[in-house]
């Protein structure tokens, strides 16, 4: 490829296809044009809308303070693209370099960027999930439907799952004065992301704000009334919650089913790619013309032990899209690794929660500044003697400092004094993350044949 002019031909008249017309796809397209790509650009999106902002959907929109169709993403520049909206991608043929669409057409590419992101995990029982009043929240249409139901003043809302989105939905309900029950399988909200020490603070915040928080329970079934509307939920502890609105907030699923049989290393955890965003195929060999960015990407991060990270973060989607776009138009010596330090924010019960790094890798946590009782503090996570993450409650201006500590592999525990150090910050505590020995969802590979030429890998899709 190098030196033969093919890159220049690509820039001038090549075909780049972006599957996923959301934040990552849009920013990649803008970056491609900004970097001088003059060829054909096709944007494929399964929703019928141009790219819009998702974080407000679980905050301002649910509070009735913003209208979902006013969440369109601002454009940095024109991208002169052929937009194929409202039509899902259904297949990829890497040998033919073609993306198949749900309307039966095909789009050929010289370079492909996959940015199909995630969708909300639905309620596992399809019939129960189809009852009126049962919602998930990920898309603009989801937000419109849910906000309309909340505005109608339900007698009780049940939120299943107390992760970030579930907690934000519960917060919005309480701010609207609606009775809300939250059912969470773990011992506290947010424990998967931030551990039990912070989860305990989150639990208190829920209860102080009037949430009927049930932890250590699962919802075993949803019951409908004769008209097909949800009426009640049955919990694993034997109790029954009568609710006329149920929001299923069980996390996200990567949108990778359309890639089944394509040969890409795609599965429920996302599409594996290298640090430069080039997708791996199922043999673990990197492709030259398929790139991945955003929530659907799983890439190794040098700062975090080269672990493959899959990040559902707004900032990551932007940064990775820009890196992918840069690399799509670059000689290999000019390619960049994606080195964005993960950062995430949430707004719950009037508190700004923001984190940097990968707290979930941490084994210990230290309250370096502020006080958990006051709900204003900075928690720093340590892993094998180094700072690996930090979280702030209403103290996010300090985070650039801790991000720098993560970037410089600073030692943990912190030995230096800071402003606002309280007695609880004098020594680290166990971060109290759940036991990680849970069943894997990864794919299974079987091998057949004996000689190298006969060796075949068969990809067995994972069961959800």
């Amino acid at each position: 490829m190098s030196g033969d002019g093919s890159l220049e031909r690509l820039r001038r008249s090549g075909r780049i296809v972006v599957v996923g017309a959301s934040l990552a796809g849009l920013r990649a397209a803008e970056t491609l044009r900004e970097k001088g790509f003059a060829g054909t650009l096709t944007m494929i999106g399964d929703e019928p809308y141009e790219p819009y902002d998702r974080p407000p959907l679980s905050k301002q929109v649910l509070l009735g303070k913003a209208v979902a169709d006013h969440t369109a993403l601002p454009r940095r520049r024109r991208i002169d693209a052929d937009w194929r909206l409202g039509v899902p991608a259904t297949g990829l043929d890497m040998a033919e370099r073609v993306v198949r669409l749900g309307d039966g057409t095909e789009v050929g590419y010289d370079r492909l960027l996959i940015a199909t992101g995630v969708r909300a995990r639905p309620w596992p029982n399809e019939e129960e999930g189809a009852l009126g009043g049962v919602f998930v929240l990920r898309t603009r249409d989801d937000a419109v439907a849910l906000e309309r139901s909340l505005a109608a003043g339900p007698r009780r809302v049940l939120v299943i799952g107390a992760g970030f989105t579930g907690s934000e939905i519960a917060s919005a309900c309480r701010e609207r004065g609606l009775p809300v029950t939250v059912a969470e399988r773990a011992d506290a909200p947010l424990v998967g992301a931030l551990g039990g020490v912070i989860g305990a603070v989150a639990a208190e915040m829920h209860r102080e704000n009037g949430v009927d928080l049930r932890t250590g329970v699962m919802v075993t079934g949803l019951e409908g009334d004769p008209s097909g509307r949800v009426r009640a939920a049955h919990l694993s502890d034997g109790s029954v919650v009568e609710a006329d609105v149920v929001v299923v907030s069980l996390g996200a699923m990567r949108n990778t089913e359309w890639l089944a049989g394509s040969g890409l290393g795609a599965g429920p955890r996302g599409i594996a790619c290298d640090a430069g965003c080039r997708a791996f195929d199922v043999r673990g060999i990197v492709t030259d013309d398929v790139y991945v960015a955003g929530d659907v990407a799983r890439s190794p991060h040098a700062l975090f032990g080269y672990q493959f990270l899959s990040l559902e973060h707004w900032g990551n989607a932007v940064a990775q899209a820009e890196t992918a776009a840069h690399n799509m138009l670059s000689e290999s010596s000019d390619r960049r690794p994606h080195l964005w330090v993960p950062a995430f924010w949430s707004s719950q019960f009037g508190v700004n929660v923001k984190s940097v790094g990968v707290p979930s890798m941490g084994t210990e946590i230290m309250i370096a500044q502020g006080s958990r009782d006051e709900r204003r503090f900075t928690g720093v996570y340590g892993y094998q003697g180094r700072v690996i993450g930090a979280v702030t409650f209403d103290q996010c201006r300090w985070l650039p400092f801790y991000q720098r500590m993560i970037e410089t592999t600073a030692p943990f525990p912190l030995e230096f004094p800071t402003v606002d150090r309280r007695s609880e910050g004098n020594k680290p505590m166990d971060a109290d993350f759940p036991d990680p020995s849970v069943p894997t969802h990864g794919p299974t590979i079987t091998l057949s044949g004996y000689s190298p030429a006969d060796r075949r890998m068969t990809f067995v899709p994972a069961h959800h």
């Binding site: 009037g350 201006r397 300090w398 400092f401 230096f416 004094p417 402003v419 606002d420």
Partner: protein, 414 residues
């Protein structure tokens, strides 16, 4: 060497153009001589320190009595407790939260925006006042415009009765003179004048605070005086030191922002013409001004709670630390062509209003004041030009700005 450059930066002879000295300083991002302060002059290092929880703004944490050329004249302030500007969390956070309740989001999200009409009226009135002097061929934009405007704004914000505003102007001038030491003046005379104004201002504010406690209005002082939220109540002394801070800090910095703004625009008549044609340009112009000519040139009152390594230099615990914001704003490692005034910059994340927890409290109001002031002056002054360039500067090296800005124009548009 550092000490020599610092002396030169503070020397009045360099007030009109300290930037070559900042460039010299940046050759050593963190510099230090003998007993002087540690001086940080590069953008990324300053930005990093502004977000560092090992940095204290409380002078009680200073350990070494540094040979500080700007050692503040604290006599006049001894009676008041420190304002939140000079405190560390959690005390800073508490006072700042309480001060913010009647000023900004989430409790008062419209306070600044709702003042827009009133501010526009003040600006227009001041320009009309220039018309009434009948001498557009010699206007002092400081005395006739940039100086009185922010004082009136803060009086409105604090709910000072209209008839008492002139007294505030007198006190503000006297206190500002104290921040602006004339090397030829007798220090005792200066201190007496400043102290007198401070005492009168303090007595006036204390009386006003008591009156507002009994009869609260919609103004900010009433809300500070009667606050009873989750952070409790402010003591009278706390209300006093906070309102004095708002008055002085809000006044001094905004005068400089507006004056430096007009000076810069008059030196760049093409940008002035664009602003006349499009008042919306005031927004990027003000941001670029905050980078190019920040009203607060340096922060000379930080110290360290621990030994801190910055750019290979270890700053010991308790050391005096100066952050030269204006130098960071011209750092070529951070800004392309940093010495060029360019309101079309796409990336304008400057240090002009500080950063971190001590970022400028009144920034939203200051920005709005400057935007309205500059766009109105651009619209109404016909063919304005400088009569003196450089103009005479105030003595103050920290709050740097012209003392007078003499301008001629052909007339005042209606």
């Amino acid at each position: 060497m550092t000490q020599a450059i610092l002396r030169e930066i503070i020397a009045y002879a360099n007030r009109a153009d300290p930037y070559p000295l900042y460039e010299e300083l940046r050759k050593t991002p963190v510099s230090h001589d003998a007993d002087g302060p540690y001086v940080v002059s590069t953008y990324y290092e300053i930005q990093s320190l502004l977000h560092d929880p090992r940095i204290s703004s409380d002078s009680r944490n200073l350990k070494s009595a540094a040979d500080d050329p700007l050692a503040p004249d604290d006599a006049g302030e001894a009676a008041l407790p420190p304002s939140f500007l000079k405190l560390d969390p959690p005390d800073h956070d508490r006072l700042r939260r309480m001060t913010n309740r009647p000023f900004g989001p989430p409790h008062a999200p419209h306070r600044v925006h709702d003042m827009r009409g009133e501010l526009a009226g003040l600006v227009s009135g001041l320009v009309d006042g220039i018309v009434e002097t009948g001498t557009p061929d010699r206007i002092d934009l400081v005395d006739q415009f940039a100086y009185p405007f922010p004082v009136s704004v803060i009086c409105r914000l604090l709910g000072v009765p209209h008839e008492d505003e002139p007294r505030f102007h007198v006190w503000a001038e006297a206190i500002a003179a104290g921040l602006d030491p004339d090397p030829d003046a007798d220090p005792a005379d200066r201190q007496k004048g400043t102290g007198g104004a401070r005492m009168e201002l303090g007595m006036y504010l204390a009386g006003l605070i008591e009156e507002r406690r009994k009869n609260p209005g919609q103004d900010m002082l009433s809300q500070l005086a009667t606050a009873d939220g989750p952070d409790g109540a402010m003591t009278t002394m706390e209300v006093l030191s906070t309102s004095a801070l708002l008055l002085i800090a809000g006044h001094e910095t905004t005068v400089n922002l507006i004056t430096n703004g007009m000076l810069t625009l008059l030196r760049h008549p093409d940008v002035l013409a664009r602003l006349r044609d499009d008042a919306g340009l005031a927004v990027p112009i003000v941001e670029e001004l905050l980078r190019y000519e920040p009203p607060v040139q340096l922060l000379p009152q930080r110290t360290t709670l621990a030994d801190i390594e910055v750019a290979g230099v270890t700053i010991p615990e308790g050391a005096s630390l100066w952050l030269i914001l204006a130098s960071g704003n011209r750092d070529p490692q951070r800004f392309e062509n940093p010495d060029r005034f360019d309101p079309d910059r796409r990336d304008i994340q400057h240090l002009g209003l500080g950063s971190g927890i001590h970022s400028c409290f009144g920034a939203p109001l200051a920005r709005l004041e400057a935007q309205l002031a500059l766009s109105e002056l651009a619209r109404r002054l016909e063919n304005p030009r400088l009569l003196e360039d450089p103009p005479p500067y105030r003595q103050n090296a920290v709050l740097r700005g012209p003392r007078h800005l003499h301008v001629a124009c052909d007339g005042i548009r209606p």
